[in-house]
């Protein structure tokens, strides 16, 4: 027997509540036996299902006894988590529905009409390639995930076997321009020319310019001659007039849709945006995961107070506890918060950096004074939302023509602008084994006797570029006036032996230092520290060199003032900054590094150095002060601090 229930959302979610994650549009079956529920059967009229706080109807199969128990299940029409202007959400691949076991006021009725008027559409999309269309205006700029790049360089270009069951009448294909060859425009030719073929027959051909997104439409033979057909998308190689050079033409495929007659005999659910129905897979799907909702805590209340918030993935909480204890002993009130509690309290269970932002805004404005000053993100992040390394998410912002990881937006809680308001740092560990060496270094550093020559030393690194060396000279002079000894490790000239120069860098680190500043060209794994060597690449200081640094506790805070040396959000590979921080007993005690391209800025380095040499400020507060004074938004958002923001540098007396 089936009962139709539409239940109001419980005003207070009890502990007997579950988060149910679904990846896509479709019908989902939730079995009682799949719930981690220790109790016995529940009265069926006490069940409630919600999405983002709104009641959702469902079909309940309870055997007719009015009790939801073993062997029973419910079915609901689930909808994917859409993005701001994209089919899927860039921060989470899962929408979360919440099943509460103590609902009241059940009313019998069907969940929602599943048939009815409206275009019937099958949407096909695979998010495989992340690209920022930096020259496109809004809203095309907000679409960052694409199916495939298509160009005449890419072999067979694009081909897909279409299922034509149900006799679709029309196909629509969304593509965006990627290239924008100016030579084509000057010659009066379109920058893009795309051919749409079905089983080798040309169906449509379109031309357009720039990075704009267009939708190509083509009618289909109805009824279809065959139940399957091969769709091909091709960009022909076109040559510029009076040259042998081909036009640079590359486009991005976003999605494909098939339109069916309204009476098509296909399983559908009403689209969220209304006006059309989406074809979904036959039968009932299983949720991606089911997780008991975290116990209702006080995060959204007003009673708590903390100076320092650790927002941690649950797998890392035990490992980070000693660091929290160290700060407690030093007088800070530290609260360790499971990031899942943040999701449950501030985004209805959906994993999102916005949940962290909202939580911090709430804590700053509604918790007991004094408000939190420091935030430590305990866990790695990833731009691939379903990556196992995406433990504590970060924002993805537009940097210099590309997307950059940015923790800055997490701590802009009150004014909503781009300047941070709290000191934030991250320990980008993928698991407890990666976190342990970071914690061990932080504990050893803060518990060790700081006395020693190393606390007076500052390292200044640059390559042969006189401009970089001039800036480093000026910055190091400020450090010297504050009582630090400056050691400048520049290559003397283009003829200096590369191995000798790299050895000088190793020696400089081996003596220990309070601060290390690099200014110059760099990348994910490298600093260019020597004269350019395009054959041997011996001009590069890289992550292998970090592994060769001697062990010790006299580790510098590294300011890596270069492009892309700290993109901590890649799902598979690391970075120079992560290697500096993660190297056991060596490397750096903390690293400030950019997650994408950045301009050289003497002003930003000066703000940082001056603030770091202020004995009243801890590292995170110094970075916060510098960012609050910096005028270039790209610098503020692209530079992230990997380390403990409440770390105090043991400045020598002359600097105090």
């Amino acid at each position: 027997m089936a009962a139709w229930l539409l239940l109001p959302v419980a005003s207070a979610v009890a502990q007997t509540a579950f988060n149910i994650a679904i990846p896509d549009d479709g019908f989902y079956r939730l079995n009682f036996d799949d719930l981690e529920y220790a109790g016995s059967a529940i009265p069926s009229n006490e069940l409630a299902l919600s999405e983002q706080g709104s009641s959702i109807g469902f079909e309940l199969i309870d055997g007719g006894d009015g009790m939801f128990g073993p062997g029973d299940y419910l079915v609901f029409a689930g909808r994917r988590l859409a993005g701001e202007n994209s089919w899927y959400n860039q921060y989470s691949r899962h929408n979360v529905y919440r099943l509460s076991l103590d609902g009241t006021g059940a009313a019998l009725r069907p969940p929602e009409p599943l048939a009815g008027q409206g275009l019937v559409v099958r949407h096909m999309e695979q998010d495989k390639l992340r690209v920022a269309l930096s020259d496109a205006g809004w809203p095309a700029l907000m679409e960052r995930w694409f199916w495939q790049r298509i160009s005449y360089l890419d072999g067979e270009q694009f081909a897909l076997e279409l299922d034509l069951e149900g006799d679709p009448e029309r196909i629509r294909i969304s593509v965006a321009g990627l290239s924008r060859d100016r030579h084509a425009s000057k010659a009066g030719l379109p920058q893009h020319q795309l051919k749409v073929l079905l089983d080798g027959q040309l169906r449509e051909e379109v031309q357009w310019d720039g990075q704009e997104a267009i939708t190509v439409e083509a009618t289909l033979p109805n009824p279809a001659a065959n139940s399957r057909a091969t769709l091909s998308l091709q960009l022909p190689r076109r040559v510029l007039p009076n040259t042998d050079q081909a036009i640079v033409d590359a486009v991005l495929l976003n999605w494909i849709e098939l339109d069916y007659p309204e009476d098509a005999d296909l399983p559908t659910i009403p689209a969220r945006e209304g006006g059309r129905r989406l074809v979904v897979s036959e039968g009932h799907r299983k949720p991606a995961w089911i997780r008991p909702m975290t116990k209702k805590g006080e995060l959204g209340g007003t009673d708590l107070q903390a100076d320092y918030l650790f927002i941690a993935h649950p797998a890392l909480i035990d490992t980070v506890k000693p660091l929290a204890e160290l700060h407690r002993q030093a007088g800070l009130r530290v609260e360790i918060v499971d990031v899942h509690r943040v999701y449950d309290a501030f985004s209805h269970g959906v994993a999102s950096p916005y949940a962290i932002q909202s939580f911090l805004a709430h804590a700053v404005t509604h918790w007991q004074a004094p408000a939190p000053r420091f935030v430590l993100l305990v866990g790695d992040a990833s731009w691939q939302p379903d990556s196992p390394r995406n433990l504590v998410p970060t924002f993805q912002v537009m940097g210099h023509k590309e997307i950059a990881a940015s923790d800055n937006g997490l701590v802009t809680p009150i004014n909503g602008g781009w300047r941070p308001e709290l000191a934030v740092g991250r320990l980008p560990a993928g698991d407890a084994a990666e976190l342990k060496p970071m914690i061990d270094k932080l504990l050893a550093y803060q518990q060790a006797d700081p006395e020693g020559d190393w606390q007076r030393r500052s390292l200044w690194m640059a390559d042969v570029d006189p401009g970089f060396q001039r800036i480093s000279n000026r910055l190091s002079a400020r450090a010297a006036r504050a009582g630090l000894v400056r050691e400048r490790v520049y290559p003397e000239d283009a003829t200096e032996d590369q191995n000798a120069h790299q050895a000088r860098i190793q020696q400089a680190f081996s003596k220990g230092a309070l601060l290390a500043h690099f200014l110059g060209h760099g990348g994910r794994y490298v600093w260019r520290t020597g004269p350019v060597d395009l054959q041997g690449a011996s001009d590069l200081f890289d992550i292998d060199d970090i592994a060769q640094l001697p062990a010790g506790v006299e580790l510098p805070l590294v300011l890596s003032m270069t492009c892309s040396s700290g993109p901590f959000d890649h799902p598979q590979v690391g970075s120079l900054a992560e290697s500096f921080l993660g190297a056991p007993r060596r490397g750096a005690i903390g690293v400030l590094a950019a997650s994408w391209r950045v301009p050289a800025s003497q002003a930003f380095s000066r703000l940082l150095v001056d603030a770091l040499l202020d004995p009243q400020l801890r590292v995170g507060e110094a970075i916060l002060k510098a960012k609050q004074q910096e005028k270039n938004r790209v610098l503020v958002e692209s530079y992230n601090y990997l380390g403990d923001p409440a770390l105090s540098l043991p400045l020598p007396d002359a600097a105090q």
Partner: protein, 111 residues
């Protein structure tokens, strides 16, 4: 604006095989990249001719080091060739990204 971007066209020639010449290059970062063409000349000063029938497709915009190669089948024995690599951006801009390097002359193997 001076970007602190390291674009390094680290080019080297693989001369271990007798024939042909394999031209390899490595990038640390790439921005707005469409592909690469390889040029060959008889002397260091040229004249140079493009020897890639189609550009070698690139990774686009990336900060992950990429390795590329092109096999030059059209060489003659005991001849020194000079090579360089040119990048092609998505805006159609072409730029030489490596110095000019010489191959070692290859001798014919007799069976």
């Amino acid at each position: 604006m001076l970007l602190l971007l390291l674009f390094a066209g680290y080019l080297y020639l693989d001369s271990r095989a007798i024939t042909p010449n394999t031209i390899r290059w490595v990038t640390q970062t790439e921005e707005d990249s469409f592909g690469y063409d390889v040029f060959r000349g008889p002397t260091e000063q040229g004249p140079f001719t493009r020897i890639t029938p189609l550009p070698i497709a690139s990774a686009g915009s990336t900060d992950i080091p990429q390795r590329y190669h092109f096999v030059d089948q059209g060489i003659e024995a005991d001849t020194v060739y000079w090579y360089y690599v040119e990048s092609i951006s998505l805006t159609g801009r072409r730029e030489r990204v490596t110095p000019v390097y010489a191959s070692k002359p290859k001798s014919i193997s007799w069976f």
